[in-house]
Symmetry: C2
Subunit: 316 residues, 2 copies
């Protein structure tokens, strides 16, 4: 398959008329209209085979995940996603693989009204780069640096399941339901709902302690976490407490949102739970000082074995 | 080197205060302001080792080229570049390599006031993805589809030199001056000057015939090219005519602009040449019909050996 045919295939299978798209795929660049009063929000992430998804991952799931991790970044800013650019490196032209990849990418894009507006294809080791572009009301973006002492710390969904699935796969155990690892659901609607209510927000990609640490560093404050409150996925239900907490504090790839909420806005949590049909759990609070202290329900300090890692290695 | 340190290093070495940057590197995404009356222009390109640059290319040059090819796409739309996102896959953390790469990236970014506002680093085979973002007055972008019968076809700089350098390197010949291949100069100022005067525009990455073909297909017209007028780089001066023309018509990687200009605007060429200190050459014209016909100064038809290729293989 020639380059232009491959691009055309992706275009045909992904392109829908989109908001603000003055010129989509097919020229040197896309031309896009950001509505007045809105700012552009831009994130980019690369996924490499064997690194960000298992070597045996389905093309459909890789398509899903490559967009999902970027939409998750936009969600963490409170932005509404609009457009995406896709750079695909493939070892060999492979129509069937591309069709399946594109179907996964497209199905998630359609859920969130994201239009593919550009990209390129190149030959190389399997690698996918996506740039996601969205919009947020000027001055309303959710920053890591805006946490305030007294804020509640809240997470969406459940925590630690993706890391458990990955661990099982890496130890050679077959896992029937890999959805938490292979098809994370970016919390796009939640992110937008939080603007104007939450102070700081981040998505959980590197692990709870590492990501919360970014907020604390940027906001110059500390946090208390009650590990007994961490929401438990079914993947962790049969584990001993300490092992479970290690997954939940240090495991990555959850792509849930962690945000800090002024106590006066606590009442919004029930409303969001109902509107979004989404689990939201208060797991701790922001305090003066620095660093994270984890404790159990009865007040004992808990120190995780792994203090938070950067994905699966020292350079990811 | 840990991921965050690597990002910090790139940030420190590249970041300058930039126009419209509400939030740069360091959060989940960047927040950017597109001025009222302007549209956003977005392009993305991936460069893989051994494919888009020689395996022995200098890190500085790879940094330069990864930004240059994307700025070239923006130039072809008539856009002013503003911001860039960089995704870097490295086999091993390598401070020295990153410093040199960043210096090359930064030096070109500074020339064109481009601010690095985000990105990620991952471990993998050497691969660089850049997304370039710019702005153009609403309705003024230069499209491939706007060529008109009677337009002059004009190219900037010289044509065919990069392909010649690549051929020599691939045949094992050492080349002292590799600048045309390793450090292409995106025609950013020319692209912006063309808005309001030129009809269609494209950058020459895949080869003159292939890229001109994209304009003709999008604009539903044909072209005559006088091969004797093609501007000759010093790298091709000693070659026999037919061999030279093959490089010029089918060779890629020039990153010059090819644009179509209404004959009534021909007078602008001298002004642009002087203002931009840039070679601009009329090489043919747009006609009714389809396809490109190449002829020599005395009117003989010339058929190139390679009819235009897609970079260096069937999937690039």
């Amino acid at each position: 398959m020639r380059e232009f045919e491959l691009i055309r295939q992706i275009q045909q299978e992904s392109s829908v008329p989109g908001e603000g798209v003055k010129l989509g795929i097919g020229d040197d660049a896309a031309i896009l209209e950001v509505p007045r009063g809105k700012c552009l929000v831009a994130a980019t992430d690369t996924l490499n085979a064997g690194k960000h998804f298992p070597d045996d991952a389905e093309a459909f799931d890789i398509g899903h995940k490559s967009l999902a991790v970027n939409l998750s970044d936009l969600a963490a800013m409170g932005a509404a996603p609009r457009w995406a650019l896709l750079s695909l490196s493939l070892p060999e032209p492979d129509s069937k693989w591309v069709r399946s990849f594109t179907a996964g990418f497209r199905s998630l894009a359609q859920v969130h009204n994201v239009v593919l507006v550009g990209g390129d294809t190149t030959r190389g080791p399997l690698s996918i780069n996506v740039t996601a572009l969205g919009v947020v009301d000027a001055g309303k973006g959710l920053l890591r640096s805006d946490a305030q002492v007294g804020d509640l710390i809240v997470v969406s969904g459940t925590i630690g399941g993706a890391a458990r699935v990955l661990d099982l796969l890496q130890s050679g155990t077959s896992v029937r339901d890999r959805e938490l690892l292979d098809r994370p659901q970016p919390r796009v609607r939640l992110g937008q709902a939080l603007t104007g209510y939450a102070n700081a927000c981040i998505d959980l990609s590197d692990g709870l302690l590492a990501d919360l640490g970014h907020i604390l560093e940027a906001s110059d404050c500390a946090a208390q976490i009650d590990v007994s409150t961490l929401p438990v996925p079914k993947e962790l239900q049969n584990l001993e407490e300490h092992e479970r907490w290690n997954y939940q504090l240090a495991g990555g790839d959850d792509y849930e949102l962690l945000f800090t909420l002024p106590a006066k806005n606590k009442g919004m949590l029930d409303q969001w739970r109902e509107q979004l049909n989404l689990n939201l759990t208060v797991i701790g609070q922001i305090e003066e000082g620095e660093g994270v202290q984890c404790h159990t329900a009865d007040g004992e300090i808990f120190k995780p074995v792994r203090p938070g890692f950067e994905h699966f290695s020292d350079l990811d």
